[in-house]
């Protein structure tokens, strides 16, 4: 039980990295990117390719992949996402589903459908663990990923709170038109946001490939998990993604403890229950709002 909860919390760290990018895009550009999971998987394949074929040290491969993902995000927003935004809610859905199909099948076409993993390239880190009292063993890799997620979220928080770009991102989130009237080029800020979101997706992809096996069609399930974490944590709240990721992770690992098939089911049910709870309550009662009311800050706020 305690073991499953610890595993779930650590899993939540990975979800938080993946969900933070999705949430950032939802907040600043109001764009639901259904290819977010596929883009994470794409980054993972890129790293695996660099490491396996070019024998590049894994850290170097990740460092090289991040700017590539950032550039890709910038280009996607400039040439694809922003243009389909004008067409209401359906066109972005078609576009990102289409993009997802392109990425999944492109990866399949280039790398075949074999499952891949970075686990083979990280030495004993893949299985090394600390022993805690009560016969609980905690994997070192999940702990490192969790720590990385906290570092990522703290950096994002610092970026949003204390930099020119961060202030402009928050202003654009709160009121795009007023941001433009304050001299902020909202389109540039949105491109930068998607670039950051893709860097986050890349990091998540690296984490995913280190801790598990992936195949070209892993993306959509990861998107569902990310969205669930975002909704459980409260849309637009940065630390909510960590809270949501942890709740999702705990639900999943508790389910898996009973039966492997229950891993996904428990996560889904918690997600649906949180949505239901929020609908019944007055307005939104996500965990993120709870945290926000405690901390008094967020990336997206209620209008005045």
């Amino acid at each position: 039980m305690l073991d499953a909860i610890i595993q779930g919390i650590l899993l939540g760290g990975y979800y938080a990295i993946l969900a933070a990018g999705l949430s950032l895009m939802l907040g600043v550009t109001r764009f639901l990117n259904l290819a977010h999971g596929d883009l994470a998987v794409l980054a993972a394949y890129l790293i695996i390719y660099l490491v396996a074929t070019w024998h590049m040290p894994i850290l170097w491969a990740i460092v090289l992949m991040l700017p590539v993902m950032g550039l890709l995000g910038w280009a996607l927003q400039a040439f694809l996402f922003a243009r389909t935004m004008k067409g209401g809610f359906l066109l972005p859905l078609l576009t990102t589903f289409g993009l997802g199909a392109v990425i999944q099948n492109g990866i399949y076409g280039v790398f075949s459908s074999d499952v891949k993993s970075l686990g083979n390239f990280i030495g004993n880190l893949a299985w090394a663990s600390w022993k805690l009292p009560g016969h609980i063993s905690v994997g070192k890799l999940p702990v490192y990923i969790f720590v990385a997620s906290v570092v990522v979220l703290v950096s994002l928080q610092l970026l949003l709170s204390f930099t020119k770009l961060g202030r402009a991102m928050r202003a654009t989130t709160l009121d795009e038109e007023a941001a433009e009237l304050s001299g902020i080029d909202a389109r540039r800020i949105q491109r930068a946001t998607v670039a950051i979101a893709m860097v986050l997706a890349g990091l998540a992809g690296a984490a995913l490939a280190m801790r598990s096996l992936i195949n070209p069609y892993t993306g959509p399930t990861q998107l569902i998990f990310a969205f669930e974490a975002v909704v459980i944590g409260g849309i637009g709240s940065l630390w909510g993604t960590l809270a949501g990721g942890i709740v999702l992770g705990i639900a999943q690992s508790l389910g898996a403890k009973i039966s492997p098939q229950l891993f996904q089911l428990f996560g889904h049910l918690v997600f649906l229950a949180v949505l239901w709870w929020r609908l019944k309550g007055s307005g939104s009662l996500g965990l993120g709002n709870l945290l926000r009311s405690l901390k008094g800050q967020s990336i997206k706020g209620e209008s005045a």
Partner: protein
């Protein structure tokens, strides 16, 4: 000089602005009056570029800026205090000002000079903009516009919803801004007396067109009432005689 020529703007099928032209010089104050629905807000949203469904041209210091995005117009020196203030509610007052200062033009207006001009902002710098009173919000909105160092600033419904005391304070600050002579001001004001007192010239809008324009000293109260309600002068006199 800010010149707008033959502005037409639509909301879908409804033509809200039908061929409006006017100009403002640097240091001049143009007062705009007109009933709700006369097309004032749509006109100014079209001039600043946030209302895209429009034709006509906007010239700023001789340069045609009508194809530019709102942010680029701000960079050329055109700012707007929008209707409803439109502050960033989850950001502090300081951040609201800072973000405009970082993206607008460089110039004499800095956080320090804006705080001197709008001293009411000093004690609330750390408050969230969403928690302010109406008068404080309007002051932040004006401060935010000034932070972009505009040559011209458009203030939509500048005293709407403010208490009489807040309006007094507001016009005191605007008076100083006017006295500096560096900025052209377009101010939409529902209070005729206020508008007449503060503006150099008055423009009255009705059903999307300008029905009256003149130096504020030369216009009588009756002229303006007629233009405001779209009454023929004779008809107005007749109804006045009946009363």
């Amino acid at each position: 000089m800010l010149e707008v020529k033959n502005i037409q703007a639509r909301h879908g099928l409804l033509q809200a602005v039908r061929g409006v032209s006017f100009s403002v010089a640097k240091g001049e104050v143009l007062g705009v009056i007109g009933a709700n629905g006369a097309g004032k807000t749509t006109l100014f949203r079209a001039i600043t570029g946030v209302h895209a469904d429009m034709t006509g041209s906007v010239l700023l210091n001789g340069e045609d800026i009508s194809a530019l995005r709102p942010a680029k117009r701000v960079a050329k020196g055109l700012a707007m205090v929008p209707e409803g203030r439109r502050l960033f509610p989850d950001m502090s007052v300081r951040e609201n000002l800072q973000v405009a200062g970082e993206h607008g033009r460089r110039g004499d207006w800095t956080l320090a000079t804006v705080l001197d001009a709008l001293p009411a902002l000093k004690p609330i710098l750390r408050s969230l903009a969403g928690n302010l009173s109406g008068g404080q919000r309007q002051a932040v909105a004006i401060g935010r516009a000034l932070m972009t160092n505009p040559d011209f600033v458009i203030m939509d419904e500048v005293s709407l919803g403010l208490s009489p005391i807040a309006i007094e304070g507001l016009y005191e600050s605007l008076g100083q801004l006017k006295a500096s002579g560096k900025t052209g001001i377009v101010v939409v004001e529902q209070d005729l007396r206020r508008a007449m007192a503060f503006s150099d010239r008055i423009v009255c809008m009705l059903e999307g067109t300008i029905t009256l324009e003149g130096a504020s000293g030369t216009l009588t109260h009756d002229d303006i009432t007629n233009a405001y309600f779209g009454l023929e002068p004779e008809a107005h006199e007749r109804s006045a005689a009946h009363a």
